[in-house]
Structures are given as structure tokens and as C-alpha cells.
Amino acid sequence: MSGKLNKVWLISFGLLVTAIIVLNNLVRGDWGDLTGGFANLIKFWNTELWPPRWSLIFEAQSEPPNCRVEIGFFCSKAYTGMLETLKMAFVATIFGFIGAIALSPFAAKNLVPTYVLVPTRIFLALTRSLPSIIWAIIFVIVVGIGPLAGVLAMILYTIGYIGKLQYEEIEGINREPLEAARAMGLRHSEIVSKVVIPESGNTFLSQLLFMFEYNVRHGTVLGLVGAGGIGLHIDRAMELGNYNDVMSYLIVIYVVIIIIDFLSLFIRSFVTDEAEIGNKSLISTLLPASLTQRWRKQQN
């Protein structure tokens, strides 16, 4: 047992040393860049990034002029940009997920023969091999600047990425429900919809939520190539050297990502093996069990 443990430690240590050697190779032995870099970061933070321009978050922008909401926040550049990014991510995640769920059963080796799974996997690898930002550049050329290019880019990437996660999940499911269904004579479509999807449903839901969060984060980057959303504002601010503006947008993105993370934690808590329906609250999901109990006692 301890011999096995020692081997694990030895391998881990070996990997760490290899990583340091490779890094040394990458910086060509000049670590001055790294040590000096931190001082530069502090300077950049103090002079350029902080304080952020709060007005971008809390005050109404001049465009569009017909913003009818009284509260400035809902007409601010950061809010409208982030909302567009969220819409793009939502649409792309839903369509991408549907595309992936339609393709992944044709890429799982426990469901289809090799001559079906190989072309499907090649297609999924193709959509995944190009990062979404490259797809976005292609779609900006095809459909022009704006959110549609971003949405199309994210859909393709989602299909490839989620598709791979899904077929790996499908290949890992217990073989007995599949065998029972096959022996019954159920069709491939029935096996997928009635056995595979319910059996992997929890993981699929996790993947869906993860991909939404991923698309929100990447949606912000896609704006840099003209594919809409808050990224477009970040791109313009960077071009003009307004790093305080960039900081404002980054704060909004960070807060939204944290909210999505907590929400997905809450939603996923309903589908775990231990989940008891009707006994859930956001607090009980976010806090450790001991704190939740104390909180409940106080409530009672």
C-alpha cells in the first residue's frame, strides 16, 4: 500500500519537475520577466484599472435613447451588453445541446457499430478542434458583425464539446439496462430516449449548466472579434486605452459568473441521488450541512 503511495508521490513530483523545466525552456531561462511582471501588474492596477468607471454600470447610457426604464442600471452599457451576452449564451447552449444530444448516441461505441461512430466522432472533433473565437471570426465574415455570428460560433463549439462529454458519459452507463432493452427488441431511438437519456440525465443537466457558464464566459471574448455582447464594449474600451472601463465590465462579468455558478449548484442539487424533493432552499445548497441545520433552527 505504502509502496503504491510512494510511487504516486514520485510520479507527481516528477511531473512537477518536468513542468518547471518546460516553463524554464519557455522563458528561455530568463525569469526576470516573471519577477518584474508582478511589479508591473501592481503598477497597472493602481494607475489604469482602479477605480473602475462605476457610471458604466449604474448610469443610463445615451444609446439606445429610448430606454424606458427609470432605474439607470437597466439602461447602462454594462447591463445591456451583459444581457446580450447572456441571451447569446442561452440560445447557443440550448441549440448546441440539442445538436449534441442528437449526435452523441451515434458516437457511443456501446450503442452503434464502428462504421457509424467513426464519422460522427470525426464531425464532433472538427467542430471542437477550432476554438469558438476562430468560428466567430469565420461567422463574422459570413453573416457580418453582431450577435448572430457569436451565437453560430458558440452553437458549433457547444455541439463538439458537449457531444464528446455526452458520448463518453453514454459509454460509461451500466450495460444491463441497455442489454435488457435490446433483448426486448426496442429500437435504437427508443433505447436512446427511454434508457440512455434518463440514465445519464443528471450528468447531462450538469453539462448543460456548465456549458451555459462556459458560453457566458466565452461570449465575452467573442465580442473582441465583433461577435456582439459585452465583449464588443470591452474591445472598444481597450482600443481607446480606457482600462477603467474594461475593469467595470470585468466586474459585471465576474458577478454574473458567480451568480450562475450558485444557481447551477442549486439546480443540480435536485438531481443527485440524495436529493429529497420539497426539502430544498438556496441557503441549504450553498451552506455546509452543519450551518444549514443551525440556520433552520434559528428560523424555527
Binding site: 435488457a180 426486448m184 427488441g185 426496442l186 440514465e199
Partner: protein
């Protein structure tokens, strides 16, 4: 004499190498046959081969069982969809058992008839109150009842069951045994089960084939 439901001739089963060879077996309508024997002989492999889940190495299997819904297979760990409800699992069997015929009306009629069959089967195994519960929240005995309900909802010609009476207490085992015996007798289907519990095999089966000490060859005469 009635035509056998399944007739096996010189069947060899296994994976890269044969586990059981020269298998000859006939099972008649309304008959329950149990195979008993020590572990590792290839009893499960035999059931999986007859179920069509793995290919046979050689030999012939005759019988009108290869149609949709012809075989009801209960694997060792039951093969239930764990995250789905009792209703969902029994529905898998019922969608094969309740035929969608053009004479009997549209798809809504089919759905309605299917729902009645599901509820009836779940009722027969005494799980009406748990019909919407997910499988993962049921006890081992209750899960075996669900697998039984799924098999009978399918109205198969042949039921293959792999040690599905194991891990059951006497009361649960007795009730499932009497249910299966009645079902096989009423519908004149056939049942082949693998069972390591010899007393339970004697309780349920009309004929027992004991493979202990047998040199990897199974014949109906054995």
C-alpha cells in the same frame, strides 16, 4: 404435443473461448426451467446469448422469439433505469407488449391501453403506491418486483431471468415465485432462469438442470 417455445441445438457459448458447448435444450409452453450450478460455468453467458445480447459461437436457436417483445430479459442486476420512475421502467416492457395496430385506433388509444397495462402489472406486484417513485429509492426486493412487472407487461414468449430471486427474503421470494408461476401457466409462455439457490429453484421450476460437476456440456437429458 405443443411446439416448443425455444429449441437449442449444439449451441456453444462464450467470449473468445467457449464456456459451455454442445448445448441441447427445449422448453415447452407453460414450462419453467432452472439452471443451477457453481459460479463461472457460463450460465449467465448462456442467458445473454439466448437473449441476443452477445453472439453465439456456434449452433442453432429455433423459435419465434426474435420478434419485438419476444424475449423478456431480467439481468442479474435487473437492468432497470435507476433515475427513472417505476412507471417509466414498466412502460419499456408495455411498449413492446401493447401492439400499435391500425385497427385498434390511433396513437392516443395505444397510449391509453398501454397505461392500463402498466398500472395493472404494477398492481400485480404490489407497488401501486410507489408507481411514481424513482427506482433508486426502492429497496432491493421492490426493484425485483419492478423488473418482474416490466417482464410481464411485455407479454413475452420467453422470460430469461438471471438469479433474480437472490437477495430476497422468503416472503418476497414466495410472492414473486407464485406470481411468475401463475403468469407462465396463464399465458403459456416459457421461462428459463439461472439460480444458485437450489431450494428456490425447486420451488419455481418444473425442471432443473444441475450443471455442478458437469463438464461444460448441457443437454436437455441432463
Amino acid at each position: 404435443m405443443a411446439k416448443p417455445i425455444i429449441k437449442i441445438r449444439d449451441l456453444t457459448v462464450g467470449y473468445d473461448f467457449p464456456l459451455l458447448s454442445e448445448i441441447n435444450l427445449e422448453i415447452n409452453p407453460g414450462e419453467i426451467v432452472a439452471i443451477v450450478g457453481i459460479s463461472g460455468l457460463g450460465k449467465t453467458t448462456l442467458l445473454r446469448t439466448i437473449a441476443g445480447v452477445i453472439p453465439k459461437l456456434s449452433g442453432q436457436i429455433f423459435g419465434d422469439i426474435r420478434r419485438r417483445g419476444g424475449i423478456g430479459y431480467i439481468p442479474q442486476r435487473l437492468g432497470l433505469v435507476r433515475h427513472a420512475s417505476v412507471y417509466h421502467n414498466v412502460e419499456l416492457g408495455a411498449r413492446c407488449g401493447v401492439k400499435l395496430s391500425t385497427e385498434s385506433g390511433n396513437i392516443f388509444n395505444w397510449s391509453k391501453r398501454k397505461s392500463l397495462v402498466i398500472r395493472d402489472c404494477v398492481d400485480q406486484v404490489g407497488l401501486s403506491e410507489k408507481i411514481d417513485e424513482p427506482i433508486r429509492r426502492l429497496s432491493g426486493g421492490q426493484q425485483r418486483r419492478v423488473a418482474t412487472a416490466r417482464a410481464i407487461a411485455q407479454k413475452p414468449q420467453l422470460i430469461l431471468a438471471d438469479e433474480f430471486l437472490s437477495e430476497l427474503d422468503k416472503e418476497n421470494a414466495d410472492s414473486i415465485i407464485s406470481l411468475m408461476r401463475k403468469y407462465v401457466s396463464d399465458t403459456q409462455c416459457a421461462m428459463l432462469l439461472v439460480e444458485h439457490h437450489i431450494v428456490r429453484a425447486e420451488q419455481i421450476a418444473d425442471r432443473i438442470i444441475d450443471l455442478s460437476g458437469f463438464d461444460s456440456k448441457l443437454t436437455s437429458e441432463a
